[in-house]
């Protein structure tokens, strides 16, 4: 029962460096999400995907890009990291509308990636 798996768990970057965070889910979910969590600000949606090959902007998309080439994977990229991107990043997935009224909203989260940008 892997659920949602995020790699890596920790990463330290220097300003200007790039990196990709990988999210994989084995629940055949249609929808996937990337959030960042900062103290006192809750979980803020960066980008999301409603199916393979689709992506959409969330609440705080600037400085990030995403790709969903396979249904089970959702990648989050930082092209030129900035100290303001120091955060804990969470990936989540859900059935989406295909899950029906009750299940569509339930999001399952990974364990997070702690990123520090120096």
């Amino acid at each position: 029962n892997a659920g949602v798996t995020q790699t890596p768990k920790f990463r330290v970057l220097k300003t200007g460096q790039s990196m990709t965070l990988l999210c994989a889910q084995d629940m055949n979910h249609e929808y996937m999400y990337w959030y960042r969590q900062d103290p006192g600000m809750g979980l803020r949606l960066i980008h999301y995907s409603v199916g393979e090959g689709t992506t959409a902007k969330g609440e705080v998309p600037d400085g990030y890009n995403v790709s969903r080439l396979k249904k089970q994977n959702f990648l989050l990229g930082l092209e030129s990291a900035a100290p303001s991107q120091t955060s804990v990043y969470f990936c989540a997935s859900s059935y989406g509308l295909a899950g029906g009224t009750l299940a569509k909203n339930i999001q399952y989260f990974g364990a997070g990636t702690r990123l520090s940008v120096l």
Partner: protein, 112 residues
Amino acid sequence: QQQVKQSPQSLIVQKGGISIINCAYENTAFDYFPWYQQFPGKGPALLIAIRPDVSEKKEGRFTISFNKSAKQFSLHIMDSQPGDSATYFCAAAGTSGSRLTFGEGTQLTVNP
């Protein structure tokens, strides 16, 4: 613009006491109100959820109270235990999709 406001930011309760966390929302199109629980070093996990057609939902020691006219909902944890110490997030979703809007989070500490 925070569409879901959560309070308090932190809460300390003695073992056996009642923990109460409140949330208020603005968007009347929201129709699903979950609470997520997050332990240190882990991702959030769904704890309990309610839809606006009922005013209260109870699962064990956890109860959601919902006030549609006031656009408020709250989480009550009865007989709070040290194992309940975690960060709690309220959230809301609308009829148009499955995106969740989260509150700021409440760090709950239950002292033994």
